[in-house]
């Protein structure tokens, strides 16, 4: 019977694979050749990774890769910040699961979460050992991972007991934490100043990326609104800004920022090189975010603004409550795409002499002790960047489903 055939195929993945890969003699030959090539490449890679590669280049420089030349006696501040971040992450994660939004029903520990927790625990156990860190530092990492998982468990378990008024304040934890983090990293308020020139490695990369991402988003939204404004000055200002920035490569703007800001501003006022680069990144990304947001604004039917206006909502309220929520939802994937490329663009900072991850890697590889170890370093860099970008992408997809009122998790009938 024709109708049962597809069912059988679907029920047996092995049978389906066999049908797809070895359907005919030619298919079989091609499949065998490809599988053999894959196998050879995989074996070669593992032989290299396990026997030839000298990972000592990483374990010897792990602090440099993590924080650059941040003074050793001040590094407790970074540990504190990492712990706070772990705590806040666990807390938010647990609360998000305890309150799935729109009244949807969801288990407290879905399968993906159990996987994520297992991977986190495994990484926390294995990585410090693989990097041959001292026992004290290993213990710290274990503690931080345990803290994260504990916060996740506790907030998922006891989150619903928190009064509603307090719960609404919890998202404010993140901006607060960002400000606290800034103080912890740079000093001030009784802490010793650590000038930006001593920040480096992953710390500098993450700091630059988050700073630019956080600021370019509101800036981009304003530019997108400006570009669609009916006021000619605002509209043309936005158009010229966006098109100028999008027409120039980031690296030229970065060099321009390093040189020109020094001429434009009186001596003492020029921000540090690191901050100059951060602002250039922000202004650069804002132009791209503006275009992403504009595509979202175009997708909102004109009737929405008309309906809001005819209810008596003034334009700013209509934008905030009616147009932007819809436009940003449409623009979310493209915007996160911009954030991801922004994260990768931070590697250009190494070209203007900043010691971000790539810059640190280049100084390490220039060290005669580690000559010829570039494959190991670049591989780890690639994995690090991939992890960060994957996290951004996963977060954006989760946000999308959460914001979508017609998603299957929303209450039906």
């Amino acid at each position: 019977m024709a109708s049962t055939a597809p069912l059988v195929v679907r029920a047996n993945p092995l049978r389906r694979l066999q049908k797809e890969l070895f359907g005919s003699r030619l298919d079989g030959l091609i499949s065998i050749a490809l599988l053999a090539a894959l196998l050879a490449a995989g074996l070669g890679f593992f032989r290299w990774a396990l026997f030839q590669a000298q990972w000592v280049v990483l374990s010897a420089n792990s602090t440099l890769f993590a924080v650059g030349r941040y003074p050793v006696d001040q590094q407790w501040r970074l540990w504190l910040l990492t712990s706070l971040l772990a705590l806040a992450t666990g807390l938010s994660w647990g609360l998000l699961r305890a309150f799935p939004g729109s009244g949807a029903v969801q288990p407290l520990w879905p399968r993906n979460d159990r996987w994520a927790a297992a991977i986190l625990a495994a990484l926390a156990l294995w990585r410090p050992m693989a990097l041959q860190l001292t026992l004290a530092i290993q213990l710290r990492w274990w503690g931080i991972a345990a803290l994260l998982l504990f916060a996740r468990w506790a907030s998922g378990r006891y989150g619903p007991a928190i009064p509603h008024a307090c719960r609404r304040l919890i998202p404010l934890l993140w901006p607060l934490l960002y400000l606290v983090g800034m103080v912890l990293i740079s000093g001030g308020l009784g802490l010793v100043q650590v000038p930006p020139s001593e920040w480096g490695g992953l710390l500098l990369t993450v700091l630059m990326a988050t700073f630019a991402i956080l600021l370019c988003f509101p800036l981009g939204v304003l530019l997108a609104l400006g570009r669609r404004s009916e006021l000619p000055l605002l509209r043309w200002g936005s158009v010229i800004y966006i098109e100028f920035i999008r027409g120039a490569p980031l690296i030229t703007l970065l060099f321009l920022g390093q040189n020109i800001l020094g001429f434009l501003l009186p001596g003492g006022l020029t921000p540090d090189r690191v901050w100059r680069a951060a602002w250039v990144l922000t202004f650069f990304a804002a132009a791209y975010v503006a275009e992403a947001v504009r595509s979202g604004l175009v997708a909102v039917p004109a009737g929405q603004l008309e309906a809001a206006r005819s209810l008596g909502l003034p334009v700013p309220l209509a934008l905030v409550h009616v147009v932007l929520p819809q436009a940003l939802r449409v623009a979310l994937p493209a915007t996160v795409g911009q954030f991801i490329s922004l994260l990768q663009d931070t590697t250009l900072l190494s070209l203007i002499g900043l010691l971000d991850l790539l810059g640190t890697a280049r100084t390490v590889m220039a060290n005669p002790m580690f000559l010829g170890k570039s494959a190991e370093v670049y591989l780890v860099l690639a994995i690090l960047f991939w992890s960060c970008c994957a996290a951004l992408g996963l977060g954006s997809r989760a946000l999308e489903t959460r914001l979508n009122p017609h998603s299957p998790s929303a209450p039906q009938a």
Binding site: G312, L317, Q326, H406
Partner: protein, 248 residues
Amino acid sequence: MTSSPALMIEARGVEKWYPNGFHALRGVDLYVHQGEVVVIMGPSGSGKSTFLRTFNALEDFQKGSIVVDGIEISDDLRRIDAIRREVGMVFQQFNLFPHLTVLDNLTLAPVKVRKRPKAEVERQALELLERVGIAEQAHKFPGQLSGGQQQRVAIARSLCMEPRIMLFDEPTSALDPEMVQEVLSVMQELARDGMTMVVVSHEVRFARKVASRVVLMADGEVVEEAPPQEFFTNPRHERSKQFLSQIS
């Protein structure tokens, strides 16, 4: 004449040109008194929707004057917002806010514009939803409702601002035939309660039953204005006869 009800809409010699030079309104007059239901009919492109949309300044006009509820329409944005607070509008495409629940669609404007307490507005919103017959859908999103239900939500959303005038821009044209009646009966009830209404529509039965006056527009002008009985049984103008023969 003894003292007649208050004049709610007073449009004199309204003329509008679109930016491409098209002369959409060619000196239109309309007077609507409190409690009246005026149905505007006319072939497509006659300017009836454009005319309706000038009453709450969704469309601008170049000549003439419009006074709504004692406020003259001008470029002053605050004045326009004041008019829009008192004038409800129902659109052909419903234009509900898809990212908000039905209840939030209703409460948004009263809470944000009139600054009324949320709990009180929600109570009123539920009453209104009851009145239009969809109280049980209050926590759904607009996309989960049928067209007729959406349009009834849109009417309730306008009513939640407690407007003094309601404008309807072809409220049943985008509906499947079996849903037209549920929307019309809500409108009928509204008219019975004494709401001042201006309706652009081709629903002859609704106009016969509810309208105080029927206005026929063609090519940006008012061709005929008469009580429904007279208009449908004994139209005076050739253009009206032609139009009526086309829609019946």
